[in-house]
């Protein structure tokens, strides 16, 4: 990732990320990030963006906040990371809080309960679609499918703790894909 030639102000970093945080309805924040960071601000080139995204997806934490930390750090070090992350989280957190106050006041109203039941049913549809979109390639490969099923059963059905599951399966999964092995899951 190339360093920007001009020093970007912290206020500008905050503003750019807050605009993403407040306009990115419906998930899919990656598309909003790409437009703002690569096309509009030109803080990253296409390769730099993909590299940052790769790290974000591999490390724990949300993609959106990890991207904020990484890009903020590249631009202005620790303070850049702090303001970018706050810009990303705060607008959505405030809006969801306002929704939550309305929810707390209205949750026993039967009409509101029907609306929320519809929203929740739709949210499951969204989650399933995103999972299929990301995961279908892995469902077709026996070695990957074994891990998908093992994780699903351990965490989803048996409620084995996520920490234990990850500490057990992640090293095996990485080892089976270790460098030099035939890259059938590449």
């Amino acid at each position: 990732m190339s360093k920007p030639e001009i020093r970007v102000s912290l206020a500008r970093i905050f503003r750019v990320f807050a605009v993403i945080g407040v306009t990115s309805f419906g998930g899919g924040i990656v598309a909003y990030l790409r437009r703002a960071l690569v096309e509009e601000e030109k803080w990253l080139d296409e390769d730099g963006f993909m590299a940052a995204l790769e790290i974000s997806q591999t490390l724990p934490g949300l993609n959106a906040t990890n991207m904020s930390v990484i890009v903020g750090r590249k631009l202005r070090g620790p303070w850049g990371a702090v303001v970018a992350t706050l810009g990303m989280i705060l607008p959505g957190a405030l809006i969801v809080t306002a929704l939550g106050f309305a929810y707390a006041a209205l949750q026993h109203n039967p009409k509101v309960a029907s609306v929320l039941a519809g929203v929740a049913a739709a949210a499951v549809g969204l989650l399933v679609q995103v999972t299929i979109k990301i995961g279908w390639r892995h469902l077709l490969r026996p070695k990957d499918l074994a891990f998908v099923v093992a994780v699903f059963v351990l965490v989803g059905i048996l409620h084995v703790s996520l920490l234990v599951t990850l500490l057990t399966l992640a090293p095996i999964a990485v080892w089976l894909n270790r460098p030099g092995e035939p890259k059938e899951s590449a």
Binding site: G26, L62, A120, Q129, H138, G156, H159, V174, P179
Partner: protein, 181 residues
Amino acid sequence: MSKIISLINNFAMLSLLAVGGGTAVLPEMKHDVVDQHRWLTDTQFAEIYSLGQLAPGPNMTCVALIGYEVSGVAGLVAVLAAFFFPACLLCYFASQMWDAAEGSPWRAAVQRGMAPVVVGLMLAGCYALGKTASYNPSRDWEFNLLTLGIGVVVAGVLGLTRINPALVILAGGLAGYCLLG
């Protein structure tokens, strides 16, 4: 106060375990919040998650509402901080190391190996939410048929078109208002 500490412990742990995004910790979060601590009911959890889909920004900011339901404003602030800060801190330092490992074949091995694990976690998240929101044994079969139908239609529409998901979620709410009353 002990509730706040308990919230912080839970959500800080979830923060560090959220490989592949917030959805991956959904089943574990639901298990902690609903089954173990009994802070929320199944339905409240599904509804709070749904509210997160209606707000802009990262979906998982809805964890703020779990904190609010459990311990008011202090709980809200505690959960937000606990859920976002540890992972961000880890990301800050790990991304420096990751940059240093540029070109290492192990980087690709980590990515290839973890991808199916993340998919398994996402599936578990679908199942954890779906058990309440799509097929709920405490409701009658007509209600369940409608909620399952809404989910199938939403997944189909999103798979076939490029419509903004927030609009489809709102349409789900409208369908709920008209059909599930």
